[in-house]
Amino acid sequence: MDGAGDQATSVSRHDVTRLLHAWAAGDEAALQQLMPLVYDELHRLARRYMAGEQPGQTLQTTALVHEVYLRLVDVKNVNWQDRAHFYALCARLMRRILIDFARSRTYQKRGGGAAHVDLDEAATVSAVVGDELLAVDHALEQLAALDSRKGQVVELRFFGGLTIEETALALRVSPETVMRDWRLAKAWLTRELSQEGPHGT
């Protein structure tokens, strides 16, 4: 990376880290400022997916998600003791923002009326996925009420995009425990979601 580019991103990274801490401290306004940054990344990812449709290119989800974090947050300046906390914070943030986004998409879909026809056409696929994400979010709340650690594991893995080892680090448990929790949580959620049906709200 050349020096100038690095300079530019580290300024915004610094902002993100600051906003993240502000949000963690209870400042909801900070979230409003964080959202557009995450949306940009989401669209950037989407563009990469589109480019990835070309033959010979494949996409690596884990790498992409990590790239999102690297662009958003100055990971290097987070020390090791804080890293566990940092991961948890990021995952929570991602969950909030992604669910808000999903909600806005499904809202567009259900907007109804002739004026919304175009939006309707444009938002079909992501609206379906949006519905599904909302259903996961809802089911996750119930899981967390039943077993808070499993709820955290899902939040970190699914919404936060963390690997097993990172999740283990964030929760201060062994990777084996994370694997077991993840496995049971997935079974539980799959069951909940299938009971509600794919279109459940």
Binding site: L42, H43, L45, A46, R48, Y49, M50, E53, P55, G56, Q57, T58, Q60, T61, T62, A63, L64, V65, V68, M94, R95, L98, F101, A102, E121, A122, A123, T124, V125, S126, A127, V128, V129, G130, E132, L133, V136, L146, D147, V154, R157, F158, F159, G160, G161, T163, I164, M179, R180, W182, R183, L184, K186, A187, W188, L189, T190, R191, L193, S194
Partner: protein, 876 residues
């Protein structure tokens, strides 16, 4: 729920999930002691845990980003995907059909996939189109036949008229013909099945009127379906039960409102003369068209062609097609008779019913098949007779003659002792699928290496022939094998199709061929099945364990297996970027299916190379190698790669040499014929100072993989550590002929020249190496130093430059201490060298195991601290 109860559920779940299905029930019944709701709860979790939930398999952000990408990638035409129309949820567009867009959809009532065909909005007000559309639905829905694509219903929703039809996966006969000639038996089977469909349609009073290859569908499961009754005509129920001789009465009049008088509706080339003339058509018109299709299947060309429409129509009416023997003299005369009879201009002379044509086709099929069987029966005794006539002395003196003759026979046991699997061909046409196809090749090779008595050519040498169209006997000679497996892979959606054949290489003669088609879910089973079939053909002696290992296969979720294959694809590139990308894929595979042994084998590979190459400190790399390899072994105890990693961790990190060798035996046992197994083992043996065995082992690796630059270099390195410089130089040179940019081989060559004090050669080679590594400045420096200060000065200058570079690098990132120890030793700075050696020792650097044999430590070898260190490590 009570926390205690939830805890209990969790315990039971984890215990039961490890068990085979049949044990679970009794376990749960016993453990729950009559608490049925508890049993149910755990069972329902087990059930849902087994169905992968696609949404949770990827991080939410990726799911959402992908959905947005799909949205934005859609053309601006109205989108139906994701919508629910009537009781169908539209899933994705399949393509543009003859009459409108076709979508894949899910029937929400019956929970099955269907294809929805929508009448395009532009045609919705076109009465003619509307009628044709409805007619297709009515015609076909009246038919219920395995060879006719089923129409479920016609409906209208949101002002869109659509029909729901059976969802098929496969290809049309048109596409199939374009791919290449069909086998005679295959042609006969397809035509027979179309006859069956036509007989059913005709009996129901329906004439298809547009029989052509594009309307014949070959499903992946191998059945034939007649499609598109869009121009079919219903004749009227009163005529359905007519006898064959009454066929003339089945004549219908082309409805002038539907097809303008004289206009031809079907595709001209396959039309009957009466249809091309715009006259009345009946069931026998379909028979003529089928004759044309059969003609094309066997000859690859149309019976009637021309530059203009009118010319084609004239040919159909007036001319006889060129006899099929002209294009394919090997065809049986019966086939040409069948085609001639079907294609008579006078319909009274054609087959009057599809069933009659089917009868002749069936008789021919039986003859062809029994002929094949007879050949097989006759061939073996004939050869025995010949051998007896020639006399036993020839076979005794010239065993080759015997081998030659036996090799040609179709039924005698084959003497196949060595085999190469050529890269399977990627028939998807999508380079993005290379990793998958290569992965299948790889799996086949790996499976065959489990047979101890069979020499199998390893991956790199097989891959050498990728895209190269050499004659098989030539390839076999180059690889020194007597049999070759070749084939192709198509993957489309959730289906995989493998065609494999076994060829007697010396004679370029097919010994066996088979097509497999499976769900992607079953790909692992499929891989072992193909290998098993090959092994059965070559009739090698198998131990029961070998047999068991070949038929066993892993149980990874298909998406995890797929990610693993992508990981290995990058792994084999053997570049730093390749390794890093492979780790990404292995981690994703693990995330997708935490019970996928392959994912952990891959991670084990990654961490062992990262630890050995000093990308990670030994203490971070090797324990992870072990952890992942152990997980892999727990999940599947038949993967050699996992034992290689385990043994390597014990040997190179724990420095428990005897135990490491012991663990390695399991890898050798599981994969006795793999180049990789032998190559690794050679390194173990060299560290133990057993240089002759090490070289022998490296040669075994080379035999299995003769065209791999890296396997060749590995033999060279064993010579190098045995201080056999000349042989090492030779092997490094061969390696560089295969891959001139192979850095490690250049490095080895430099070291050899240095040992032999071939100063000019050493300097030139060093410059080449530096240039290749992108260090042009260093290369220039070496040259000028050599001119001004001579050999010693140039080499010393290089060591100092490297030292500086690594010192700078160490400020940013991890540099293994042994790198410094090595350079200080070469610079003859003993105290520094020992200081860093001690650090490397503290870290348990794996490369320390070469300390005793490595010529780089010559300067400090006589120091008592050196022998003390060798002793501390425990090197023999």
């Amino acid at each position: 729920m009570e926390p205690e109860r939830w805890q209990r559920i969790e315990e039971l779940y984890h215990s039961a999930v490890e068990m085979p299905d049949e044990q679970r029930n009794s376990f749960l019944e016993e453990a729950c002691r009559g608490d049925h709701s508890l049993v149910e709860e755990v069972e329902s979790l087990l059930k849902h845990g087994a169905t992968p939930h696609s949404l949770l398999d990827k991080p939410a952000i990726a799911v959402l980003a992908k959905a947005i990408a799909v949205d934005e990638n859609q053309p601006s035409a109205p989108r139906l995907e994701g919508k629910t129309i009537s009781h169908y949820r539209v899933l994705k567009a399949l393509g543009q059909g003859g009459m409108g867009m076709v979508y894949k959809a899910e029937d929400l009532k019956l929970r099955r996939h269907v294809a929805l065909k929508f009448l395009p909005a532009s045609l919705a007000r076109d009465q003619q189109a509307l009628q044709r559309f409805e007619r297709e639905a009515q015609a076909a829905s009246a038919l219920n036949h395995p060879n006719i694509c089923t129409v479920y219903e016609i409906d209208e929703a949101e002002a869109r008229l659509f029909i729901a039809i059976e969802f098929l996966e496969g290809e049309t006969l048109k596409e199939r013909i374009a791919r290449g000639p069909l086998e005679l038996v295959e042609t006969l089977r397809i035509t027979t099945e179309i006859c069956d469909a036509l007989e059913a349609a005709h009996s129901a009073g329906i004439v298809h009127r547009d029989i052509k290859p594009a309307n014949i569908f070959l499903t992946r499961r191998g059945s034939v379906k007649v499609l598109d009754f869009g121009v079919a005509k219903r004749i009227g129920p009163e005529l359905v039960s007519q006898r064959a001789d009454m066929a003339e009465l089945l004549t219908i009049t082309v409805d002038p409102r539907l097809t303008s008088p004289g206009a031809a509706v079907g595709t001209i080339a396959y039309m009957s003369p009466e249809q091309a003339a715009g006259r009345q058509v009946d069931t026998r018109s379909d028979i003529f068209s089928l004759g044309s299709v059969l003609y094309e299947m066997e000859t690859g060309r149309l019976p009637f062609s021309g530059h203009e429409l009118a010319e084609v129509i004239r040919a159909i009416r007036d001319r006889q097609p060129a006899p099929i023997e002209q294009f394919n003299p090997r065809l049986p005369s019966e086939l040409s008779k069948i085609i001639n009879k079907a294609m008579q201009k006078d319909r009274g002379l054609r087959y009057q019913r599809a069933a009659d044509m089917q009868g002749d086709l069936q008789a021919l099929t039986d003859r062809v098949e029994s002929k094949i069987k007879r050949w097989k029966l006759l061939l073996a005794p004939a050869i025995v007779v010949i051998l007896l006539a020639i006399g036993g002395f020839i076979t005794a003196r010239i065993p080759r003659v015997r081998e030659l003759v036996l090799g040609r026979s179709a039924d005698l046991p084959r003497q196949i002792k060595s085999i190469a699997v050529l890269p399977l061909e990627n028939l998807t046409g999508d380079p993005g699928q290379e990793y998958f196809v290569d992965g299948m090749t790889d799996a086949l090779i790996t499976n065959l290496t489990k047979v101890g008595s069979l020499r199998v050519i390893s991956r790199a040498s097989a891959m050498h022939y990728k895209g190269m169209h050499k004659a098989l006997p030539v390839i076999a000679r180059e690889l020194n094998v007597n049999a070759v497996v070749e084939g192709s892979v198509i993957r489309s959606g959730n289906r995989v199709r493998i065609s494999a054949q076994l060829v007697d290489a010396a004679h370029d003669q097919n010994l066996w061929a088979q097509d497999y088609e499976r769900d992607l879910q079953d790909v692992l089973r499929l891989q072992s099945e193909v290998a098993w079939d090959v092994v059965k053909q070559i009739q090698v002696k198998l131990t029961p364990q070998e047999q068991q290992r070949i038929v066993s296969y892993g149980h990874c979720a298909p998406n995890a297996h797929d990610l693993y294959l992508q990981g290995m694809y990058h792994w084999f590139k053997a570049t730093p970027e390749g390794y890093e990308r492979s780790r990404d894929y292995f981690e994703q595979a693990e995330a997708a299916d935490p019970n996928c042994a392959e994912a952990y084998v891959g991670l084990g590979y990654y961490y062992s190379i990262a630890a050995d190459e000093g990308i990670l400190p030994a203490g971070q790399g090797w324990p992870r190698t072990r952890l992942n390899a152990q997980r892999a072994v727990e999940l599947d105890s038949n993967i050699a790669g996992a034992y290689i990693s385990l043994a390597a961790a014990t040997f190179f990190y724990d420095w428990k040499f005897a135990e490491g060798i012991q663990q390695y035996q399991r890898a050798l046992e599981l994969s006795p014929e793999s180049a990789e197994t032998h190559r690794e083992y050679a390194i173990f043996l060299r560290v133990l100072g057993r240089s002759d065995e090490s070289i022998a082992e490296a040669k075994k690796a080379l035999e299995a993989d003769p065209f791999s630059a890296s396997i060749r270099a590995s033999l060279a390195w064993q010579y190098y550590y045995a201080h056999r410089w000349d042989e090492a130089i030779n092997q490094f040179k061969v390696s560089l002929q295969m891959d001139p940019s192979f850095l490690a081989a250049h490095e080895g060559l430099v070291k050899c020249y240095q040992q032999k004090q071939m100063e000019n050669e050493a300097i030139e080679e060093l410059i080449t190496e530096m240039r290749l590594a992108g260090a042009d400045d260093l290369a220039g420096q070496i040259r000028s130093n050599y001119q001004t200060t001579g050999y010693g000065g140039a080499v010393r200058g290089l060591y100092l430059a490297k030292l500086h570079q690594y010192q700078q690098g160490a400020k940013e990132t991890y540099v293994p201490p042994l790198v410094f120890a090595n350079l200080y030793s070469l610079l003859d700075e003993k105290d520094q060298a020992f200081e860093w050696l001690e650090k490397a020792y503290q870290e348990r650097s794996s490369k320390l195991t070469d300390l005793k044999l490595d010529p780089d430590y010559e300067n400090i070898r006589s120091d008592p601290r050196f022998s003390a260190l060798v002793k501390k490590i425990g090197l023999p």
